[in-house]
């Protein structure tokens, strides 16, 4: 296994032109993911986690301006002509989107949808593609794949559709799998099955995975590294062990505290007051400052905290690391 990360992003910034002016959806994001590893991007809706992935792979809306550097298997993507970037994306990256009810085309058979990327990028014939489709559907655990290959998406349940989407993402044996909240639209038992399926496929295929989620339970279960995003910026990132053991940003600490804890019994859940700032009107200093339980000083309000190391594999963007005594526990 080479030392080159499968995907490395540096200083990625996305500004979307809207009628009410430019909206900065992503600012200065930086991370990388290696083969066989899972990176979790965590954040609330609108924190820029999905947009950063779409922009990195050339899928951002036309109104978006994307700057920064994106290396896929060592190849710089941002400067590449559309056509080459399209081919790199199709050949090396598989996508699993949030809602399988709407991410599959209703008028094409699932077999056709699963392998059309392989026809395009690997030059498979229609006949070979069909055989491959059956294999893939079988791989993701769809019963009697040989007959289901000719079914249409509406003939599958939600969980089965998401399996189809995963089969589709794996069609070209990608080096990177991007899962954008793949379990949000599913019921709880199905969620667990899908998470397990992806983790299992990753172990067998050695794929790198970027898992976009707001479910910290999933992060703890499957991710190696985590990046917590808020208002387009990374607030804290590092290995899952380090971040979960020692959440240093007040936001991360609040997120972890907001998780329901079965051991503690019922009782009211802790919440974070307020809502994230509008990307059209971001504060000059720390974007989380207005909601921050620590409520530092004027510096927080006017000055953007830099991303500073807490330990070797753990960085945080705050003037007031939480708990206040830092790594001393």
């Amino acid at each position: 296994m080479s030392d080159v990360p499968v995907l490395a992003i540096e200083d990625l910034t996305v500004t979307i032109g809207t009628r009410r002016g430019p909206a900065r959806a992503v600012a200065g994001v930086e991370w990388s993911v290696r083969a066989g590893q899972t990176l979790a991007l965590v954040g609330e809706s609108g924190s820029g986690k999905s947009m950063s992935m779409l922009a990195a792979t050339g899928l951002a809306p036309r109104s978006a301006r994307v700057t920064g550097r994106v290396h896929l298997l060592g190849t710089e993507l941002t400067g590449l002509p559309d056509d080459q970037r399209r081919r790199m994306r199709g050949r090396h990256v598989g996508f699993v989107f949030q809602d399988p009810m709407i991410s599959l085309n209703p008028v094409l058979t699932v077999g056709r949808q699963v392998t059309e990327a392989a026809e395009e990028h690997l030059g498979l014939t229609r006949r070979a593609a069909r055989t491959r489709a059956v294999e893939l559907l079988d791989l993701v655990g769809i019963p009697s794949a040989a007959t289901r290959v000719d079914s249409y998406p509406h003939q599958f349940s939600g969980g089965m559709r998401q399996r189809v989407v995963i089969a589709m993402a794996l069609a070209c044996e990608p080096d990177l799998l991007i899962a954008d909240e793949p379990t949000t639209a599913l019921d709880v038992t199905t969620q667990a099955q899908i998470v397990e399926l992806v983790a299992d496929l990753q172990r067998r295929l050695g794929t790198a995975v970027v898992w976009i989620t707001h479910d910290l339970g999933v992060v703890a279960g499957i991710a190696d590294t985590v990046a917590v995003m808020y208002a387009g910026r990374i607030l804290e990132q590092g290995s899952v062990d380090a971040v979960f053991a020692n959440p240093s940003h007040p936001y991360t600490a609040a997120l972890l505290a907001a998780r329901p804890d079965p051991a503690a019994g019922g009782g009211e859940l802790v919440t974070i007051q307020g809502s994230p700032p509008s990307p059209l009107d971001l504060p000059a200093g720390c974007a989380f400052w207005p909601r921050c339980p620590v409520r530092g000083d004027a510096r927080c309000e006017h000055e953007l905290p830099p991303l500073v190391p807490v330990s070797a594999d753990h960085r945080v963007r705050t003037f007031y690391p939480h708990p206040a005594d830092g790594e001393s526990r």
Binding site: G90, P106, L108, Y152
Partner: protein, 314 residues
């Protein structure tokens, strides 16, 4: 599929029966006495009564309707008050003219509207998109007879490229048919193209924002493949309805255009029959138009099932 077709055919038959009743009753309400019109100035009471009796107009309405219906089922739609010829053959004679005009106009409209609608949706906000919108606004708002007259003045008058009016059967001389059909078909087709361009554009735009289109793009498919395989196929579903409604209404004959271009179609026939109060011909024409309308609708429903797999499943 077979069961679906049989069910739809039965439904169509019921609708057609309703049409005969409505047409029959409507004509009873129309003022004017057809026998008087037929006799013209040679009016004497004896001939008048004889003619009325022969046409069955002296019998009760219910009897008139059921005897009309009974004969209609055997293909006998009565005889024209004016010419005395069988209505069935009069109406069927006019069918090829209307059919060829309608089909040519719709094909012309689709050839214009599909590229224009697709391109303007894909480059929405571009110069081409604005031009397409001006075109369709123009086509929808300018009356077709005015466009027809301008077409005649320009292409038949000033340039002398095309005949100003008239009709030659396609089977008789395809080339001369073509030269005669161009102007009326383009006039009618322009209106249809305008309506269609709008629908295709908005339908495409709607589908372009669907999640599965992003999925297709994520797979790294060529834009052409994304548009033709993923977008267009879905965008077509509502467009098919519009094409069908347009085609069906053109099959009913475009009265103004047929009169303007001396095109001997169903529209012209209907117009003349109204003028002459030739009830049997009018009934026959309306019945034929209704039947064509139902046939087009049946074909469209079958096409739907082909385009959208979710429909056959129900």
């Amino acid at each position: 599929m077979a069961r679906f077709v049989i069910r739809r055919l039965l439904q169509s038959g019921a609708v057609l029966l309703g049409v005969t009743l409505v047409v029959f009753l409507l004509l009873q309400l129309v003022p004017g006495d057809p026998v008087r019109v037929a006799l013209g100035t040679r009016f004497d009471p004896q001939t008048y009564e004889a003619l009325r009796a022969r046409a069955g107009l002296d019998r009760p309405l219910v009897v008139q309707y059921f005897s009309y219906l009974g004969r209609a089922l055997t293909g006998d739609l009565g005889v024209s008050f004016r010419s005395g010829r069988p209505v069935t053959s009069i109406v069927l004679e006019r069918l090829p003219a209307t059919l060829s005009l309608a089909v040519t106009a719709v094909v012309f409209a689709m050839l214009v509207a599909f590229p224009l609608g697709i391109l303007s949706a894909m480059r929405s906000g571009s110069l081409l998109d604005h031009a397409a919108r001006v075109f369709s606004q123009f086509g929808v708002s300018v009356p077709d007879f005015w466009m027809g007259i301008m077409g005649i003045l320009l292409f038949a008058g000033v340039l002398g490229w095309l005949p100003p009016s008239g009709y030659v059967a396609l089977t008789e001389d395809p080339l001369r048919w073509a030269s005669h059909v161009v102007l009326p078909a383009a006039t009618v087709g322009l209106v249809t193209a305008s309506i269609l361009t709008r629908f295709i554009r908005s339908s495409m735009l709607e589908v372009l924002s669907e999640d599965y289109v992003r999925t297709a793009e994520a797979k790294g498919l060529r834009t052409r493949v994304v548009v033709l395989r993923h977008v267009l196929r879905n965008a077509l579903i509502p467009v098919v309805t519009v094409v069908a409604v347009q085609l069906a209404s053109l099959l009913g004959g475009v009265i103004v255009i047929e009169v303007l271009f001396a095109w001997p179609g169903i529209g012209r026939l209907t117009y003349d029959a109204v003028q002459a109060r030739d009830y049997p011909v009018l009934q026959g024409a309306i019945l034929l138009v209704a039947a064509l309308f139902l046939l087009v609708n049946l074909l469209v429903d079958m096409l739907y099932a082909r385009l959208d797999p979710r429909i056959t499943a129900r």
